[in-house]
Structure formats: C-alpha cells, structure tokens
Symmetry: D2
C-alpha cells in the first residue's frame, strides 16, 4: 500500500497516518518525492481498507500496490491449479465439457439425456435439483428426489455429477451426490455458503455474479480456498449490462484476464451467457478460443418442454455437432 | 400473457402452443388480428416462463400483460402498506430515519453514538453484528457480542434495533434482538434466507442488489410476503454502473417508480448510495425529495477510526444539521 | 504522475522509463521506497498517456497524481463560474429553470407555451429546431423554420432561447438565435462541435453522454473552455444502465461530485432522466436537493400530441405546482 | 404495432388512440380479446414513437411487432450483403483482416509496418490521420499529412486504406484516400456524419458506440443505408460496463445476434475490445469463432513508442502467429 500526501502536509497529519498504520500492525516508510510525500506500507496491509486511509486529513490518495486476493493469485502460486476428479483432470491440457439439462425433471428425462451424453464421451453431467428462481412461483426443482435420480445416474452410468448447492441447509445432501458442486451466480457472494463449501474438499464450480467484477469473483474464490479447499473452478456466465437483446453479456475478456491473474481453471457457460439456444454453439467455440479450460452447456432432449431454461438449451444433435468443432479447435490451441 | 404468431402459422404449431397452455392449467383464447394472430392467456399464467413459449415454432413474441409480482403490487392491493413497530409507523405520513454506525465495534462505541442519536430524537439505531465482506480477510463483525451490545442498547435506551441477518444459521440470534432485520444487497436473491424471514413477522428492510432491476427487487419482496410476512421495507442503496467516482450509483428514479408499482414503503440509503461522507447529506435530501418514506444513514463518532465504511459515515454534527433540513423539507412535501 | 517499478528493476528498464519522460519534456525524480521504486514526474505530464508507460517493461503501475482536466477544475480555479446572460446569473445563488417543449412544432405551439411560461416568471425557454433522432425515419425537427419561430418568441416575448446545435454545419444558424446552445448527450464527444462552440462566447449547456463518466463530461467541458469559452453549464440527464423501467438512470450523485471537482454550474434534466411525465416533478425536486444550480424541464401543452418526447413532458399545470415547491425548497438550501 | 387497452376502456379513449393513428397515416384494427383489447396497426407505423401512444389514457402497453430497422434487416433482405472493394469481397466466405497502427505517426512508421503487413498477405491497412481523443491535450493525429502518407502507401504498395472520418468538415479529404471510411464509436450517433457518408458509395466501417445497444447500432447503419450507401460493415469493439480491469467489455454475443438480425457483415475489433496487447490474440480468435466476418487489429512496430493506443497494439511478430491460427480456425468454420 502506498499513501500519497502533499509535500507540505503538517507533521500532525503525517503522524496520524503513521499511527493508524502502526496500530494495525503495519510499518510505515516515508518516501519524500518531488511532487508528493509517499508513505510506503509493509506488513499485513491486505487487511486494511483503502477507504479508511483516504478519509484521513491531508491524504490525497491511497494505492494498493499488491492484489487483494492471495491464495488464488499467480503471484502467490504461479503453477496452474489442476483438479483431479477420479482421474479426470480439470485445468490441465484437456478441455472438459459438462453438459446436461438445467433441471432434473424426471428419472426418465435425466437417464435419457445421460445415456446420450455418455455415448458421446461426456464424463460430467449437469442437472439442478435445487433451483434458485427469481420468482417464488416458478419451478424450484425436484429437490431430494432430483438428487436421488442423479445418484442413480452416477451409480448406473458411471457419470460424474455437477449439481448446484442453493443454501447451507441442503448442502449436506448435495455433498452426498455431487462430484462438483456448483455455486450459482446469485450465490457468488453468499459468504456463509462459500465458507461451508470451503471446509469440504469437493471441487466447486463458482459462477461469476451478474454484477461481479473479475476481482470480486477472485475474492469469492479466495473465501473458499482460504478455508482449505483448493479445488475451485471459476465460471464466466455473463454479466448484466444495458444490452437486453441477449439474456446476459458473456464477458469473454474475463477468460484470458483470469488465466493471467489466477492459478485457477476457468470455464465458460455459453448457455446463460447468451441465452438463445441456436447461438450457444458460436459462443461455446468463442469461449474455447478465448482460452477457457472447459465449458458447461445446457443440453435438453426436448427444450420446448423444459421446466426451466428451455430457451437456451440445445438439443443432443446440436451438441454433437458442436463437440466435433470443439475437438478440432482444441488442436489449433494445442489442447486436447 | 399474450402470444403472437404469424397469421399464416400452421394449425399444428398453433395447437402446440394451446396444448402447452392447457397442460399448464391455463386457457388459450385466439384473437385473430390484421397483422398477427394473438393468443390471449387466462389462468395461472404467472407461473409460466415467457421464454418457454418464445421457443416454440412460429411464435413471434410473448408479452406479459400483467406484472410477475402480485402481493406487493398496487394492482393487487392499492393501499400503502403501513408497518407498526411498537407505535412507530413506517410507510405512513411520517418520514422515519434509521441512523448509526456500519458495525458495532465495542460497547462504548455503540452506546456513545446511541445516546447522541436518542437525544436528537432518533428512534431506530442501525449497527451490524454480522458483516458480509467481499474479502475473507476483512473485519466480519463482532457477531454474538455485537448482538449482545445491541440488546443492551435496546433495553437501556429504549431504541429500536436495525441489524443485518447474514445467513439462515445466525438468523435466530438476530431475531432475538432486531426490531427490523436488514437483508443486505448481496443477499437480496438469497432465496432461502428470504423464505425464512418470510416465516417470521418481524419487519424486514430489503436492500436492492447491486445489479437488481426494480422488478427483481419486487420479486424478492414477493418471496417474503408470499410466506406471510407483509412487513417489508424496500431500500434503494445504489446500483453498479460504469461510473467509478462514486461507490455506487444511487438510483433515485426507483423511488417514485416503486411508489407507483408497489404498496410497500421505500427507504433510501445515501451512505452506500454515494459512498463519500461529505456528500451524503445532499443525497439524503434528494432521496426525501424523490419521495422516499425514510432514510438509513451511517453515522459514526470517529469515522476515521471506523472498522468498516468509515469513508461514507457522517459525524453526529453533520447528521444533526441534516436532520434540521429533512424536517423543513418534509413540510414542503406534506409529510412529517 | 507517479510510476511504480520493482525495487530490483534493472537499470536499463529504469533508464528506458526516464528517457521516455525526458523525450516528452518531463523530468523524472527517483523515489526509492521500501517496497517499490517510485518515479515522480514533473513537467507537462498531463499530455502523457498512462497506458503508454504501463506498457514498458518492469513498470508495475502508473498513477495520475493530478486530474486530467485543468481549466474546469476547482484545483485550478476555486471560485464558482458564474455566467451572466443579459443580467440573469447562472451558477450564482439563484436556481434557474429552463422550460419548454422538446421540439418546436409550430408557431402557435411555441407561442402558446412561451406565453404561459413567461407568465409564471420563466426567463429561459427550450425548444429544439434540429433534433438528433436514433431512427432516420423519426421527426427531425422543423429546422430553419423552428429557429425562426424561436427568434420571434425572443423578439416578441423577450424570453431567452435555449436550443440545440446538432452539427457544425447548422451551428451558425443556431448561434443567430440561441442565448444558450445545447449540446446533446449523443454529441458530448463530438469534439469538432465542441471546439467550434468553444470559439464562440455563447453559453453552452453540455449534456452528459449516456455512457460518459463524470470525468469524461469534464474533459468535454475542458475542450470548450480550452478554446476560450468559459461559459459552460454542465447537465446531468441520466446514464444508461441495466435498469429498463425508466428511460435512463438519473445519476444525481454526479451533482455534488461535480460541484466538488469543477467550478462550472451543473443543471439537472429530470425529463430525460426518468422519462415518465408524472414522476418528473419528484426527480426535479431531488435534483435541486442534491445541489443542482438549475433545471431543464420539458413542458408541453398537449403532451399526448407531442411529435417527440411526449411521454416525459409535463403539462403547464404540473409545472406550476412544481415551481411552487422548488421555491420553497430553494429557501431550505439557502438559495433563491 | 399493437396497442393494448383494458376491455372496459371508454369509447372516447379508444377513439383517441384510433384518431391519432389515422392522423399519422396508419390504419387501426380492433382485436377484442379475453383479457385486453388489442388495436393492431397497419401502415407506416415504423415512424411512430411507442412512447407517444403509451402516454394516452387507458393505454396499458404498446408493442412493436416488427423491427424499427428495415433496409439493414434480414426480414427485408435475407441475403448477406457482400461488399466488393476492387475484387476483395467483404461479408462473403473469406475472413478479412484489417491491420495497422492506431495513428499514422510518420512516413517511416507507416511504410515500415505497411511493408511488413503486405508481406504477410494483408490487403487492408488501418491508420488514423484524424484522432478523436477524450482530452483536448492529447495527440490528435497528423491530419492532412497523415492522409498524404496513407495515399502514398496506397499508391506505392497497392494496399487498401482504412481510416477514420472524424467530422463532416474533413470528410472530403478522407474520401480522397480511404477505401473504407471508419466511423468511430463516439461518432456512431453523429447523425449528420452518417447522412453525409450515406451519400457516398464508399464502404463504411461503423463501430458500435460505448453504450449503444445492438438495435442502436443497426439504426445508425440504417441512417447510412437509407441515404443510398449499402456498403456498411458493422464493428463490435466493446461496450462500457462496470468491469474496469479491461478497457471495454467485448460483447461477442453481438456477433451471432447481428448475423441473425441483419444482412450486413460484422467485424470484431479485439484491440479496443480488451485493451491489453498480449490478450488481443485470444479475443481475435474468439471473435472469429463467434462468427465474425473479419477483424480490425492494431499492430505497431514499437508499441512502447506509439503516440496512441500502444497499450493494446500487438507487434508484427505476435500478429503473424495470430494469422496462422486464424487460418486454421477459418477452415473449421468452413470459411477461408
């Protein structure tokens, strides 16, 4: 941290700044300059709030010299975090694809789609049992029954399960079934939930919030990792902007930026990112081209009958065509 | 709901739409027009997702004719919801003011400020015991001890307590102390928490999320009210936009719009709304002028020592001057 | 400007930075610190682009110590800029109100409304002759004929005219008639137009662009003032955000922020700011409460027949009621 | 257009709506329904403003049934617009790449880069002679001299020139040299400029404004095409959002959406879109994968010495590597 004051700041004001730093366990270092007096800060300054110092008299500006996120940063650990899920590596050379319906709707539905996906070589199936919905009157998922069907898919077909934990109450049940626990966009700053999943060692797919900056997303990942769970997969799924033609604005810039700032793998969710089924394949390819480590895609046998997100679900046929292109694209990018 | 199809849509496609409606318990009504075929929908269409219908073949557009929120709307109940908290009416003619520090930091701190506020005639004191923070390394509140100090303020000074419930786990402890439970912006779509506070009858101050539309806010209020708790106070506290000079963009347009759409009272939080202490009084007055039913303001004895949000907290002296102006302004607006 | 480099940056890299500074006429000053090497910059650094320096090897960060805007800043000139238009002072104690229809539609229309406004004591009438419209098929204004009617209003009723200059071609004709030239939101960064009006001495009402930050707005004002025309009135008229219920999001935070950063007067346009006629009075009062020096409001005799912006125009009756409240509010704020 | 009124709307109110339609040359068609009375509109309704009708008494909603843009839409003309520039086809199977520095800085600079690009097979060189800059103190381009250097590049190397027209005054000089005239993001709604370039037949590269919706962009293209110039290339170059880590948020969703809505070709500018040089190649590939017809990329021999946009310019070496990948990717997408 660096605090800038005018060269003619009174000694009192300077002492106040230094005392506040010392009080917080940090060490101030005066750096007199030609235009401003700098006060460099060493010690546990990441705990300090910039704003608290900006408020002090004669303080012109306060600059954070290092990043507020630590454990998830490349500065702290340069090597890519690779997550091993029963032999499937995430964040390594291979591009991983999670596919499946938005919600588990019935045993038949989830088995039908799971079998199709398995045949295409897909290892990870998604399907929501608990669905956070903005209307209290909308379909909220099959809940425990949905989890039961997922566990049967897991047992009978050997697929790995990706499903959402909506709250701390039902988390324990989700843990029983999930190979990857999804934290949805609206829960990205549900810090109690983050802390609780941080105490497990199950891989977490953490979706970016609708108005979360890249830094916010990394800070939320930091919550999980700081509890001991390093197995975090970040997920860009679109942010909220003024553009209303699409459901969200898929911010693919975030992909190379996150690869640069963080050691964690980053996935792209083109289904929520654009929200229009027949344009999902374009955005899936764009996500891979931008450098994503994987995709999470909504695939539904009968999108027009889906109880949620039918509008953005592609059919198995569309998905299969997409897979072919993803494979070709992976080679160009020197991935698998 | 109104579904638009081309005049030359095949009978099959029209039947598919009608069947999906019937299947969902609604009744379709054909409305042939000069340019489009309209299908009007009666019945429980608020449960339907527009998107699911947009997806059907030959469907050009789907228009929601009525609002997705019901219980909180003026359409359903025209009269203002007035919340009576031990004789203090919220949402009635009187403008209510909630003031106090961001966090409870110590017994001395909260009592010192509480006594000052009480002397100024303030009935509601705010103070966070559980603080959701975007960094896991930031001060997270005094927790149970903070609640204890608040309960002592309540007992000894007779002030009403406004404090935040951060999660469902600690909600029960908050309920013991709070006269009004605050749901923070990052929890506005924590639906499990909304449902749980909806099952109490304690007044809820529901803050608008950073990227929540007015409709989203009303839908979250609907979650609470649909569980039986009508005592919801909405709160505009700024949204996230491209403007970075201020902490948030206080959307005062939301105030008259919400008064128009909803029967619930609406407060303004100018402290988070602008995030710069010496500009908070301007925005507080602006909020009242826009038609707000009340304010929630951060006041701290020693903002420069505050453990959180010091940057935006005004001093008791600044607050007192503001109060005088609020009183004068209330008269112009024919309020108290 | 302050450039931060690692303490162990090689001499070569440091020299490269210093040379680039010297090459651009600036003087570098080394400031060795505990954590980073700072290079302070004196001289004409406001011409430098931060980005160019961020790009150099071993440069960690570049911080602008002073503001990029100069002439319009309070740092440069602390006193409020007061604009004298034939005895009417703008930016002084008095709150000024500009009112009138969006467009001049006919001689009868503009005279009818002008007479009503004059009777209410309004000195400044607005009315567009050239209308920038997002559709090429929409009404584009009466053009020269509109200007002619405005000049007749000026001559016969003695009102001061506020009208928009849409481009450099028609500017000369607008200059003939206008007492204040409006630069619309979509032209805020039409730098050729800014430079040309900067060479006149006619007061300019410069509207904030839909996606302009406060700094962008001040930089655009700087364009005008740097050409010699100090008579600039800034205008907050709403920005574009994700909220779609209102036409724009009126950013009233900008009002006290601009009063703090700049010596120029700031007006509020509540009509565009919310875009819903019956909510304009609330936002007009909120604008004044936030500290605005004036208002520009759309008033139309027959809003439902208006050729543009009828949706957001209030009637003379609504306007009169608003005026009464504005007067009372001004007193509270110690203005006139 | 479809106007919705309550079933019990008084005859007077209905007549008012109908009369306003007739007055504007349209024909109203009553469509009585089960829940609302619909009034369908035929005739020149694209000229009407929805808002004017929303304002009328008893009008619940007004819905545009067809798009406000016509000539640029696929509805009007389904076939892709292909622009032939001396044998180079834009919008056809081949992916076109425009490359070069942000600004023309000297004869040496532009020739050096032009020769390198030509050798790589690039046909279109970009380079700004007139630079709109947000600060009046920043480098504004070499102006006429810059154009002269570009014309020499054209003559001596046979490359096609892409350069920006900043205003109507200097447009004629730009026309002398440019094979494609660029309209910058800040000029996207400079309607006078759009009209003037619409009267030429030179291809126009129209960049999306910082806060322009996809519809706004298409309406601006409509301005040009409605004047007779069909040769419009749209360009996605990033929008302004709350994310500040990147210069803009590249909205690649816009690519497949525009291909769907419009017959015009769409390019992507990854340089402005992300603003960080070493991440430009990722976003360039992502743009192509999303379905873009071409790219416009800033390439500079010595980015660290660039007078503008050095931060986001890639080197010829980086560009060459990117070209190889673009070629491989094109094949996967069945393009050239």
């Amino acid at each position: 941290m660096l605090i800038l004051m005018p060269l003619d700041a009174p000694k009192d004001a300077i002492d106040k700044v230094k005392n506040k730093l010392t009080y917080n366990g940090c060490t101030p270092h005066e750096i007199p300059g030609a235009i401003k007096l700098g006060i460099g800060v060493t010690g546990p300054s990441s705990k300090l709030s910039l704003d608290e110092f900006k408020l002090l008299e004669y303080v012109d500006d306060v600059i954070r010299v290092s990043k507020p996120f630590k454990l998830v940063s490349r500065e702290m650990k340069y090597e890519d975090t690779i997550i091993n899920i029963d032999g499937e590596l995430i964040g390594a050379k291979k591009i991983n694809i999670i596919a499946g319906p938005c919600s588990v709707e019935s045993r038949e539905q989830i088995f039908e789609i799971a079998e199709m996906l398995k045949e295409m070589g897909i290892k990870f199936i998604r399907g929501g049992a608990y669905k956070p919905r903005s209307s209290p009157y909308a379909f909220q998922g099959l809940k425990e029954i949905g989890l039961k069907y997922l566990s049967e898919v897991k047992k009978e077909l050997g697929m790995k399960i990706v499903t959402e934990a909506k709250d701390t109450e039902t988390l324990d049940m989700v843990i029983e079934v999930a190979d990857i626990i999804q934290i949805g966009a609206r829960n990205m700053q549900n810090f109690s939930l983050l802390e609780k999943v941080g105490k497990t060692n199950i891989p977490i797919l953490l979706k970016r919030g609708l108005s979360a900056t890249i830094e916010d997303l990394l800070m939320s990942a930091e919550y999980i990792v700081s509890q001991g769970n390093n197995n975090v997969i970040l997920c860009e799924r679109g942010i909220r902007t003024f553009e209303t033609y699409t459901r969200n604005t898929l911010d693919l810039n975030a992909v190379p930026v996150i690869k640069h700032l963080s050691n964690l793998p980053i996935f792209v969710d083109p289904s929520h990112g654009i929200g229009i089924a027949n344009k999902v394949p374009n955005m899936a390819l764009a996500g891979i081209a931008a450098g994503a480590d994987g995709l999470i895609i909504e695939v539904h046998n009968h999108p027009e009958k889906a109880l949620s997100d039918g509008m953005q679900s592609i059919t198995p046929k569309q998905f299969k065509e997409l897979l072919t292109k993803v494979k070709l694209l992976s080679k160009i990018l020197e991935r698998e």
